[in-house]
Protein backbone atom coordinates (compact mmCIF):
# COMPACT_ATOMS: atom_id res chain seq x y z
CA UNK A 1 0.00 0.00 0.00
CA UNK A 2 2.76 2.45 0.91
CA UNK A 3 4.35 1.93 -2.50
CA UNK A 4 1.30 3.52 -4.10
CA UNK A 5 2.18 6.84 -2.55
CA UNK A 6 5.72 6.76 -3.96
CA UNK A 7 6.59 7.09 -7.60
CA UNK A 8 7.15 3.49 -8.79
CA UNK A 9 10.43 4.17 -10.59
CA UNK A 10 11.70 5.89 -7.45
CA UNK A 11 10.71 2.84 -5.48
CA UNK A 12 12.61 0.53 -7.85
CA UNK A 13 15.73 2.73 -7.64
CA UNK A 14 15.60 2.67 -3.89
CA UNK A 15 15.27 -1.08 -3.86
CA UNK A 16 18.26 -1.46 -6.17
CA UNK A 17 20.34 0.90 -4.07
CA UNK A 18 19.47 -0.91 -0.87
CA UNK A 19 20.10 -4.25 -2.52
CA UNK A 20 23.55 -3.05 -3.45
CA UNK A 21 24.34 -1.88 0.07
CA UNK A 22 23.13 -5.14 1.61
CA UNK A 23 25.09 -7.22 -0.91
CA UNK A 24 28.31 -5.38 -0.04
CA UNK A 25 27.66 -5.74 3.68
CA UNK A 26 26.96 -9.44 3.26
CA UNK A 27 30.14 -9.94 1.21
CA UNK A 28 32.21 -8.19 3.87
CA UNK A 29 30.74 -10.29 6.65
CA UNK A 30 31.23 -13.48 4.65
CA UNK A 31 34.80 -12.54 3.87
CA UNK A 32 35.48 -11.76 7.53
CA UNK A 33 33.98 -15.08 8.60
CA UNK A 34 36.00 -17.01 6.05
CA UNK A 35 39.15 -15.19 7.16
CA UNK A 36 38.68 -16.41 10.72
CA UNK A 37 38.64 -20.07 9.68
CA UNK A 38 42.17 -21.41 9.79
CA UNK A 39 41.95 -23.18 6.51
CA UNK A 40 43.97 -23.00 3.34
CA UNK A 41 41.32 -22.19 0.69
CA UNK A 42 42.18 -23.77 -2.66
CA UNK A 43 39.57 -22.46 -5.05
CA UNK A 44 41.68 -23.32 -8.11
CA UNK A 45 41.28 -27.04 -7.37
CA UNK A 46 37.58 -26.70 -8.18
CA UNK A 47 38.22 -25.53 -11.68
CA UNK A 48 39.61 -28.89 -12.74
CA UNK A 49 36.30 -30.50 -11.87
CA UNK A 50 34.03 -27.99 -13.57
CA UNK A 51 32.73 -30.54 -16.07
CA UNK A 52 31.88 -33.04 -13.34
CA UNK A 53 29.96 -30.36 -11.48
CA UNK A 54 28.23 -29.08 -14.61
CA UNK A 55 27.21 -32.61 -15.44
CA UNK A 56 25.82 -33.02 -11.94
CA UNK A 57 23.89 -29.79 -12.30
CA UNK A 58 22.32 -31.02 -15.52
CA UNK A 59 21.41 -34.23 -13.73
CA UNK A 60 19.78 -32.24 -10.95
CA UNK A 61 17.72 -30.32 -13.50
CA UNK A 62 16.75 -33.48 -15.34
CA UNK A 63 15.72 -35.30 -12.18
CA UNK A 64 13.84 -32.27 -10.88
CA UNK A 65 11.97 -31.83 -14.15
CA UNK A 66 11.04 -35.51 -14.30
CA UNK A 67 10.01 -35.64 -10.65
CA UNK A 68 8.05 -32.43 -11.05
CA UNK A 69 5.83 -33.74 -13.83
CA UNK A 70 5.34 -37.04 -12.07
CA UNK A 71 4.63 -35.42 -8.71
CA UNK A 72 1.93 -33.19 -10.17
CA UNK A 73 0.20 -36.21 -11.68
CA UNK A 74 0.54 -38.10 -8.41
CA UNK A 75 -0.63 -35.07 -6.41
CA UNK A 76 -3.78 -34.82 -8.53
CA UNK A 77 -4.44 -38.55 -8.23
CA UNK A 78 -3.97 -38.49 -4.45
CA UNK A 79 -6.17 -35.42 -4.13
CA UNK A 80 -8.96 -37.12 -6.06
CA UNK A 81 -8.33 -40.32 -4.09
CA UNK A 82 -8.81 -38.45 -0.84
CA UNK A 83 -12.16 -37.17 -2.10
CA UNK A 84 -13.23 -40.50 -3.54
CA UNK A 85 -16.59 -41.91 -2.45
CA UNK A 86 -14.94 -45.35 -2.43
CA UNK A 87 -13.68 -46.07 1.10
CA UNK A 88 -10.55 -48.16 0.32
CA UNK A 89 -9.34 -45.59 -2.19
CA UNK A 90 -9.95 -42.77 0.27
CA UNK A 91 -8.23 -44.59 3.13
CA UNK A 92 -5.26 -45.57 0.99
CA UNK A 93 -4.77 -42.01 -0.28
CA UNK A 94 -5.14 -40.51 3.17
CA UNK A 95 -2.75 -43.07 4.68
CA UNK A 96 -0.21 -42.60 1.92
CA UNK A 97 -0.19 -38.84 2.38
CA UNK A 98 0.14 -39.10 6.16
CA UNK A 99 2.94 -41.66 6.07
CA UNK A 100 4.94 -39.91 3.37
CA UNK A 101 4.58 -36.50 5.00
CA UNK A 102 5.33 -37.88 8.42
CA UNK A 103 8.64 -39.59 7.66
CA UNK A 104 12.01 -38.18 6.52
CA UNK A 105 12.80 -38.27 2.83
CA UNK A 106 16.16 -39.79 3.69
CA UNK A 107 14.48 -42.87 5.18
CA UNK A 108 12.13 -43.15 2.20
CA UNK A 109 15.04 -43.00 -0.23
CA UNK A 110 17.03 -45.66 1.59
CA UNK A 111 14.08 -48.03 1.97
CA UNK A 112 12.79 -47.27 -1.51
CA UNK A 113 16.10 -47.86 -3.19
CA UNK A 114 17.81 -50.60 -1.18
CA UNK A 115 14.72 -52.59 -0.29
CA UNK A 116 11.79 -51.92 -2.62
CA UNK A 117 13.63 -51.27 -5.89
CA UNK A 118 16.02 -54.08 -5.07
CA UNK A 119 13.19 -56.52 -4.47
CA UNK A 120 11.66 -55.50 -7.80
CA UNK A 121 15.05 -55.89 -9.51
CA UNK A 122 15.04 -52.32 -10.74
CA UNK A 123 18.57 -51.02 -10.81
CA UNK A 124 18.36 -47.77 -12.74
CA UNK A 125 19.18 -45.44 -9.90
CA UNK A 126 18.13 -42.27 -11.73
CA UNK A 127 14.72 -43.64 -12.55
CA UNK A 128 14.21 -44.89 -9.00
CA UNK A 129 15.40 -41.51 -7.72
CA UNK A 130 12.87 -39.64 -9.85
CA UNK A 131 10.03 -41.90 -8.73
CA UNK A 132 10.96 -41.70 -5.03
CA UNK A 133 11.32 -37.94 -5.13
CA UNK A 134 8.01 -37.58 -6.99
CA UNK A 135 6.22 -39.86 -4.56
CA UNK A 136 7.46 -37.66 -1.71
CA UNK A 137 6.60 -34.30 -3.25
CA UNK A 138 3.32 -35.65 -4.67
CA UNK A 139 2.01 -36.15 -1.13
CA UNK A 140 2.64 -32.47 -0.34
CA UNK A 141 1.18 -31.33 -3.66
CA UNK A 142 -2.00 -33.32 -3.07
CA UNK A 143 -2.57 -31.37 0.13
CA UNK A 144 -1.97 -28.07 -1.68
CA UNK A 145 -4.42 -29.10 -4.42
CA UNK A 146 -6.98 -30.36 -1.93
CA UNK A 147 -6.81 -27.14 0.08
CA UNK A 148 -7.28 -25.09 -3.09
CA UNK A 149 -10.22 -27.14 -4.25
CA UNK A 150 -11.92 -27.14 -0.87
CA UNK A 151 -11.45 -23.40 -0.52
CA UNK A 152 -14.01 -22.89 -3.30
CA UNK A 153 -17.04 -22.13 -1.19
CA UNK A 154 -20.53 -23.59 -1.25
CA UNK A 155 -21.88 -20.28 -2.59
CA UNK A 156 -19.79 -20.65 -5.77
CA UNK A 157 -21.09 -24.16 -6.26
CA UNK A 158 -24.64 -22.98 -5.74
CA UNK A 159 -24.11 -20.09 -8.17
CA UNK A 160 -22.77 -22.52 -10.76
CA UNK A 161 -25.82 -24.75 -10.34
CA UNK A 162 -28.13 -21.74 -10.45
CA UNK A 163 -26.86 -20.54 -13.83
CA UNK A 164 -27.59 -24.02 -15.14
CA UNK A 165 -24.15 -25.61 -15.31
CA UNK A 166 -24.08 -29.39 -15.12
CA UNK A 167 -21.41 -31.10 -13.01
CA UNK A 168 -18.74 -31.15 -15.71
CA UNK A 169 -19.36 -27.50 -16.62
CA UNK A 170 -19.24 -26.52 -12.96
CA UNK A 171 -15.79 -28.08 -12.58
CA UNK A 172 -14.54 -26.76 -15.89
CA UNK A 173 -15.71 -23.17 -15.67
CA UNK A 174 -16.01 -22.44 -11.97
CA UNK A 175 -14.10 -24.78 -9.67
CA UNK A 176 -10.93 -25.67 -11.57
CA UNK A 177 -10.04 -22.17 -12.80
CA UNK A 178 -10.38 -20.77 -9.29
CA UNK A 179 -8.67 -23.71 -7.59
CA UNK A 180 -5.79 -23.51 -10.06
CA UNK A 181 -5.19 -19.85 -9.24
CA UNK A 182 -5.14 -20.64 -5.55
CA UNK A 183 -2.88 -23.67 -5.93
CA UNK A 184 -0.26 -22.02 -8.14
CA UNK A 185 1.76 -20.10 -5.54
CA UNK A 186 1.95 -23.10 -3.21
CA UNK A 187 2.84 -25.37 -6.09
CA UNK A 188 5.65 -23.06 -7.19
CA UNK A 189 6.97 -23.10 -3.61
CA UNK A 190 6.83 -26.88 -3.55
CA UNK A 191 8.79 -26.97 -6.81
CA UNK A 192 11.59 -25.05 -5.09
CA UNK A 193 11.50 -27.54 -2.23
CA UNK A 194 11.68 -30.40 -4.70
CA UNK A 195 14.84 -29.02 -6.31
CA UNK A 196 16.55 -28.73 -2.94
CA UNK A 197 15.30 -32.12 -1.78
CA UNK A 198 16.89 -33.69 -4.84
CA UNK A 199 20.24 -33.10 -3.13
CA UNK A 200 19.43 -36.04 -0.85
CA UNK A 201 19.54 -38.37 -3.84
CA UNK A 202 23.29 -38.42 -3.36
CA UNK A 203 22.66 -41.07 -0.67
CA UNK A 204 21.54 -43.51 -3.32
CA UNK A 205 24.65 -42.65 -5.33
CA UNK A 206 22.99 -40.65 -8.06
CA UNK A 207 25.49 -38.20 -9.46
CA UNK A 208 23.44 -35.09 -9.18
CA UNK A 209 25.12 -31.81 -8.35
CA UNK A 210 25.52 -32.35 -4.60
CA UNK A 211 27.10 -35.74 -5.16
CA UNK A 212 29.32 -34.23 -7.87
CA UNK A 213 30.56 -31.61 -5.43
CA UNK A 214 31.19 -34.22 -2.73
CA UNK A 215 33.19 -36.24 -5.25
CA UNK A 216 35.11 -33.15 -6.27
CA UNK A 217 35.96 -32.38 -2.67
CA UNK A 218 37.20 -35.93 -2.16
CA UNK A 219 39.19 -36.21 -5.34
CA UNK A 220 40.82 -32.78 -5.10
CA UNK A 221 41.62 -33.21 -1.42
CA UNK A 222 39.64 -30.14 -0.45
CA UNK A 223 36.97 -29.97 2.23
CA UNK A 224 34.59 -27.05 1.77
CA UNK A 225 35.32 -25.12 -1.41
CA UNK A 226 32.69 -26.88 -3.50
CA UNK A 227 29.78 -26.01 -1.28
CA UNK A 228 29.80 -22.29 -2.07
CA UNK A 229 29.29 -22.78 -5.82
CA UNK A 230 26.83 -25.53 -4.94
CA UNK A 231 24.65 -23.07 -3.04
CA UNK A 232 24.85 -20.68 -5.98
CA UNK A 233 23.85 -23.41 -8.42
CA UNK A 234 20.74 -24.23 -6.36
CA UNK A 235 19.87 -20.56 -6.03
CA UNK A 236 20.12 -20.20 -9.80
CA UNK A 237 17.22 -22.65 -10.01
CA UNK A 238 15.17 -21.67 -6.96
CA UNK A 239 15.36 -17.86 -7.14
CA UNK A 240 13.61 -17.61 -10.53
CA UNK A 241 10.96 -19.96 -9.19
CA UNK A 242 10.25 -17.91 -6.13
CA UNK A 243 10.22 -14.75 -8.23
CA UNK A 244 7.66 -16.42 -10.48
CA UNK A 245 5.60 -17.53 -7.47
CA UNK A 246 5.48 -13.96 -6.19
CA UNK A 247 4.35 -12.68 -9.54
CA UNK A 248 1.60 -15.28 -9.72
CA UNK A 249 0.44 -14.37 -6.27
CA UNK A 250 0.28 -10.68 -7.15
CA UNK A 251 -1.47 -11.38 -10.40
CA UNK A 252 -4.21 -13.53 -8.94
CA UNK A 253 -4.74 -11.49 -5.80
CA UNK A 254 -7.87 -9.79 -7.12
CA UNK A 255 -9.20 -12.72 -9.03
CA UNK A 256 -10.57 -14.80 -6.21
Amino acid sequence: MSSQAVNPSHQALREIAWGFVLAIALSLITWALFATVRYQWRWDALWDYRFLIAHGWMMTMLISAGALVLSIALGLALMMGQRSPWIPVRLFSRGYVEIVRGTPLLVQLLIGYYIIANALHINQAVLVGIVLLASFEGAYLSEIFRGALESIGASQIEAARAVGFDRAQMYRYVIFPQALRRALPGTAGQMGALIKDSSLLSVISIEEVTQAVKMTNAQAYIALEGFIPLAVLYLALTLPLSWWARRLEARFKFDT
Binding site: S155, Q156, E158, A159, G164, F165, Q178, D255
Partner: protein, 245 residues
Amino acid sequence: MQLTAHHLTKRYGEHLALNGACFDTPADVRSVVLLGPSGSGKSTLLRVLGSLLLPESGGLSIDGNPLSTDEAAALQQRRGNGFVFQGFNLFPHLTALENVALPLRVVHGCSDDEARQRAIEVLERFGMGPHREKRPAEMSGGQQQRVALARAIASKPKLLLLDEPTSALDPMMTQEVLDLIRELAEAGQQIVLSTHEISFAKKVADWVVFLDHGKVIESSPAKEFFEHPRSDLAQQFLEALTRYR
Protein backbone atom coordinates in the same frame (compact mmCIF):
# COMPACT_ATOMS: atom_id res chain seq x y z
CA MET B 1 -47.97 -17.57 -12.61
CA GLN B 2 -49.75 -20.29 -10.79
CA LEU B 3 -47.69 -21.78 -7.98
CA THR B 4 -49.03 -24.76 -6.11
CA ALA B 5 -47.12 -26.14 -3.17
CA HIS B 6 -48.32 -29.14 -1.40
CA HIS B 7 -47.05 -30.25 2.03
CA LEU B 8 -43.45 -29.48 1.24
CA THR B 9 -40.91 -30.76 3.72
CA LYS B 10 -37.17 -30.25 3.69
CA ARG B 11 -34.88 -31.10 6.57
CA TYR B 12 -31.29 -30.24 7.38
CA GLY B 13 -30.25 -33.09 9.63
CA GLU B 14 -32.81 -33.09 12.43
CA HIS B 15 -34.06 -29.62 11.67
CA LEU B 16 -37.20 -29.19 9.58
CA ALA B 17 -36.62 -26.09 7.47
CA LEU B 18 -39.88 -26.68 5.61
CA ASN B 19 -42.51 -28.42 7.65
CA GLY B 20 -45.45 -29.22 5.42
CA ALA B 21 -45.65 -25.89 3.63
CA CYS B 22 -48.80 -25.48 1.51
CA PHE B 23 -49.97 -22.56 -0.57
CA ASP B 24 -51.24 -21.70 -3.99
CA THR B 25 -51.41 -18.59 -6.04
CA PRO B 26 -53.88 -17.70 -8.79
CA ALA B 27 -52.63 -17.65 -12.38
CA ASP B 28 -52.78 -13.87 -12.84
CA VAL B 29 -50.15 -13.22 -10.17
CA ARG B 30 -46.82 -11.88 -11.45
CA SER B 31 -44.75 -11.19 -8.38
CA VAL B 32 -44.84 -13.23 -5.22
CA VAL B 33 -43.06 -12.00 -2.11
CA LEU B 34 -42.01 -14.41 0.63
CA LEU B 35 -42.04 -12.84 4.07
CA GLY B 36 -41.31 -14.21 7.49
CA PRO B 37 -38.94 -14.02 10.41
CA SER B 38 -35.33 -15.08 10.10
CA GLY B 39 -35.03 -18.85 9.89
CA SER B 40 -38.65 -19.29 8.82
CA GLY B 41 -37.67 -21.12 5.63
CA LYS B 42 -37.85 -18.42 2.93
CA SER B 43 -34.49 -19.23 1.39
CA THR B 44 -35.20 -22.93 1.56
CA LEU B 45 -38.54 -22.48 -0.19
CA LEU B 46 -36.92 -20.35 -2.91
CA ARG B 47 -34.28 -23.01 -3.49
CA VAL B 48 -36.92 -25.67 -3.73
CA LEU B 49 -38.92 -23.52 -6.17
CA GLY B 50 -35.77 -23.04 -8.21
CA SER B 51 -34.92 -26.79 -8.23
CA LEU B 52 -31.67 -26.09 -6.38
CA LEU B 53 -32.85 -28.23 -3.48
CA LEU B 54 -35.04 -31.27 -3.68
CA PRO B 55 -37.78 -31.52 -1.04
CA GLU B 56 -38.03 -34.74 0.96
CA SER B 57 -41.74 -34.92 0.40
CA GLY B 58 -44.60 -32.93 -0.96
CA GLY B 59 -45.23 -31.60 -4.42
CA LEU B 60 -44.81 -28.39 -6.27
CA SER B 61 -46.11 -27.24 -9.62
CA ILE B 62 -45.58 -24.09 -11.62
CA ASP B 63 -48.34 -23.17 -14.08
CA GLY B 64 -49.74 -26.65 -13.74
CA ASN B 65 -46.46 -28.42 -14.50
CA PRO B 66 -45.31 -30.52 -11.57
CA LEU B 67 -41.60 -30.07 -10.77
CA SER B 68 -39.65 -33.24 -11.24
CA THR B 69 -37.32 -34.46 -8.51
CA ASP B 70 -35.06 -36.31 -10.92
CA GLU B 71 -31.60 -34.67 -11.17
CA ALA B 72 -31.53 -34.45 -14.97
CA ALA B 73 -34.97 -32.88 -15.07
CA ALA B 74 -34.04 -30.54 -12.21
CA LEU B 75 -31.09 -29.31 -14.30
CA GLN B 76 -33.45 -28.46 -17.16
CA GLN B 77 -35.78 -26.69 -14.73
CA ARG B 78 -32.87 -24.66 -13.32
CA ARG B 79 -31.93 -23.60 -16.83
CA GLY B 80 -35.32 -22.00 -17.26
CA ASN B 81 -34.93 -19.85 -14.13
CA GLY B 82 -32.85 -16.87 -13.14
CA PHE B 83 -31.47 -16.76 -9.62
CA VAL B 84 -29.97 -13.99 -7.50
CA PHE B 85 -28.81 -14.67 -3.95
CA GLN B 86 -28.08 -12.49 -0.98
CA GLY B 87 -24.68 -11.54 -2.28
CA PHE B 88 -21.29 -12.55 -3.55
CA ASN B 89 -22.49 -15.10 -6.04
CA LEU B 90 -20.70 -13.76 -9.09
CA PHE B 91 -17.75 -15.77 -10.37
CA PRO B 92 -14.76 -13.83 -9.01
CA HIS B 93 -12.31 -14.91 -11.71
CA LEU B 94 -14.47 -13.58 -14.54
CA THR B 95 -15.24 -10.03 -15.66
CA ALA B 96 -18.79 -8.67 -15.44
CA LEU B 97 -19.19 -9.33 -19.16
CA GLU B 98 -17.97 -12.92 -18.89
CA ASN B 99 -20.15 -13.57 -15.85
CA VAL B 100 -23.16 -12.78 -18.00
CA ALA B 101 -21.95 -14.19 -21.31
CA LEU B 102 -20.52 -17.53 -20.15
CA PRO B 103 -23.84 -19.18 -19.16
CA LEU B 104 -25.42 -17.88 -22.37
CA ARG B 105 -22.69 -19.61 -24.37
CA VAL B 106 -22.30 -22.89 -22.57
CA VAL B 107 -25.82 -23.41 -21.21
CA HIS B 108 -28.14 -21.64 -23.60
CA GLY B 109 -26.35 -22.40 -26.85
CA CYS B 110 -25.65 -18.84 -27.99
CA SER B 111 -22.74 -18.23 -30.32
CA ASP B 112 -19.81 -16.17 -29.00
CA ASP B 113 -21.10 -13.05 -30.76
CA GLU B 114 -24.70 -13.49 -29.72
CA ALA B 115 -23.71 -14.06 -26.10
CA ARG B 116 -21.44 -11.03 -26.05
CA GLN B 117 -24.03 -8.85 -27.74
CA ARG B 118 -26.77 -9.93 -25.38
CA ALA B 119 -24.54 -9.54 -22.30
CA ILE B 120 -23.52 -6.01 -23.31
CA GLU B 121 -27.15 -5.12 -23.95
CA VAL B 122 -28.30 -6.27 -20.50
CA LEU B 123 -25.34 -4.76 -18.68
CA GLU B 124 -25.99 -1.43 -20.37
CA ARG B 125 -29.64 -1.57 -19.50
CA PHE B 126 -28.58 -1.88 -15.85
CA GLY B 127 -26.06 0.94 -16.15
CA MET B 128 -23.10 -1.41 -15.95
CA GLY B 129 -21.79 -0.81 -19.49
CA PRO B 130 -18.74 1.18 -18.39
CA HIS B 131 -17.82 -1.48 -15.82
CA ARG B 132 -18.18 -4.55 -17.97
CA GLU B 133 -14.47 -5.39 -18.04
CA LYS B 134 -14.17 -5.27 -14.24
CA ARG B 135 -13.96 -8.29 -12.02
CA PRO B 136 -16.27 -8.55 -8.99
CA ALA B 137 -13.51 -7.47 -6.57
CA GLU B 138 -13.28 -4.18 -8.47
CA MET B 139 -16.99 -3.37 -8.17
CA SER B 140 -19.15 -2.05 -5.32
CA GLY B 141 -21.72 -4.34 -3.73
CA GLY B 142 -24.55 -2.62 -5.59
CA GLN B 143 -22.74 -2.95 -8.89
CA GLN B 144 -22.10 -6.62 -8.20
CA GLN B 145 -25.77 -7.23 -7.51
CA ARG B 146 -26.71 -5.40 -10.72
CA VAL B 147 -24.39 -7.70 -12.64
CA ALA B 148 -25.92 -10.67 -10.82
CA LEU B 149 -29.37 -9.48 -11.88
CA ALA B 150 -28.12 -8.99 -15.44
CA ARG B 151 -26.79 -12.54 -15.44
CA ALA B 152 -30.07 -13.88 -14.08
CA ILE B 153 -32.28 -12.23 -16.69
CA ALA B 154 -29.93 -12.44 -19.70
CA SER B 155 -31.30 -15.85 -20.65
CA LYS B 156 -34.87 -14.48 -20.55
CA PRO B 157 -35.97 -16.81 -17.74
CA LYS B 158 -39.60 -17.68 -17.27
CA LEU B 159 -39.19 -17.22 -13.54
CA LEU B 160 -36.81 -14.94 -11.63
CA LEU B 161 -36.02 -16.02 -8.08
CA LEU B 162 -34.44 -13.47 -5.75
CA ASP B 163 -33.29 -14.33 -2.24
CA GLU B 164 -32.87 -11.16 -0.19
CA PRO B 165 -31.06 -9.54 -3.07
CA THR B 166 -30.30 -6.37 -1.10
CA SER B 167 -29.58 -7.59 2.41
CA ALA B 168 -25.81 -7.20 1.94
CA LEU B 169 -26.09 -3.66 0.58
CA ASP B 170 -26.13 -0.20 2.14
CA PRO B 171 -29.31 1.94 1.75
CA MET B 172 -28.12 3.74 -1.41
CA MET B 173 -27.15 0.56 -3.19
CA THR B 174 -30.33 -1.08 -1.97
CA GLN B 175 -32.34 1.62 -3.75
CA GLU B 176 -30.43 1.11 -7.01
CA VAL B 177 -31.09 -2.61 -6.99
CA LEU B 178 -34.70 -2.38 -5.84
CA ASP B 179 -35.48 0.12 -8.60
CA LEU B 180 -34.19 -2.36 -11.15
CA ILE B 181 -36.24 -5.20 -9.71
CA ARG B 182 -39.32 -3.02 -9.73
CA GLU B 183 -38.74 -2.13 -13.38
CA LEU B 184 -38.44 -5.80 -14.21
CA ALA B 185 -41.65 -6.59 -12.36
CA GLU B 186 -43.49 -3.75 -14.07
CA ALA B 187 -42.24 -4.98 -17.44
CA GLY B 188 -44.00 -8.25 -16.73
CA GLN B 189 -41.18 -10.48 -15.47
CA GLN B 190 -42.48 -13.24 -13.22
CA ILE B 191 -40.68 -12.93 -9.91
CA VAL B 192 -40.61 -14.75 -6.59
CA LEU B 193 -38.53 -12.94 -4.00
CA SER B 194 -37.81 -12.95 -0.32
CA THR B 195 -37.02 -9.67 1.36
CA HIS B 196 -37.07 -7.80 4.63
CA GLU B 197 -37.64 -4.48 2.79
CA ILE B 198 -41.28 -4.14 3.69
CA SER B 199 -42.03 -0.90 1.86
CA PHE B 200 -40.50 -2.36 -1.29
CA ALA B 201 -42.56 -5.51 -0.85
CA LYS B 202 -45.69 -3.36 -0.64
CA LYS B 203 -44.82 -1.72 -3.94
CA VAL B 204 -43.96 -4.78 -6.03
CA ALA B 205 -45.89 -7.68 -4.54
CA ASP B 206 -49.07 -9.03 -6.10
CA TRP B 207 -49.15 -11.89 -3.66
CA VAL B 208 -47.58 -12.55 -0.27
CA VAL B 209 -46.64 -15.88 1.26
CA PHE B 210 -45.91 -15.50 4.97
CA LEU B 211 -43.85 -18.26 6.57
CA ASP B 212 -42.95 -19.20 10.10
CA HIS B 213 -41.06 -22.26 11.32
CA GLY B 214 -41.25 -23.90 7.93
CA LYS B 215 -45.02 -23.56 7.61
CA VAL B 216 -47.05 -21.20 5.47
CA ILE B 217 -49.09 -19.10 7.89
CA GLU B 218 -50.74 -16.88 5.30
CA SER B 219 -50.96 -16.85 1.55
CA SER B 220 -53.00 -13.94 0.28
CA PRO B 221 -53.17 -11.02 -2.16
CA ALA B 222 -50.59 -8.40 -1.19
CA LYS B 223 -53.08 -5.62 -0.54
CA GLU B 224 -55.13 -7.78 1.75
CA PHE B 225 -52.06 -9.07 3.59
CA PHE B 226 -50.62 -5.65 4.31
CA GLU B 227 -53.94 -4.06 5.24
CA HIS B 228 -55.57 -6.85 7.18
CA PRO B 229 -53.19 -9.62 8.11
CA ARG B 230 -55.28 -12.49 9.43
CA SER B 231 -52.87 -14.19 11.79
CA ASP B 232 -51.47 -12.67 14.99
CA LEU B 233 -47.99 -13.69 13.91
CA ALA B 234 -48.21 -11.72 10.69
CA GLN B 235 -49.62 -8.74 12.55
CA GLN B 236 -46.74 -8.76 15.01
CA PHE B 237 -44.25 -9.25 12.22
CA LEU B 238 -45.57 -6.27 10.24
CA GLU B 239 -45.69 -4.11 13.33
CA ALA B 240 -42.12 -4.94 14.24
CA LEU B 241 -40.93 -4.20 10.73
CA THR B 242 -42.75 -0.92 10.37
CA ARG B 243 -42.09 0.44 13.85
CA TYR B 244 -38.93 2.30 12.85
CA ARG B 245 -39.82 3.23 9.27
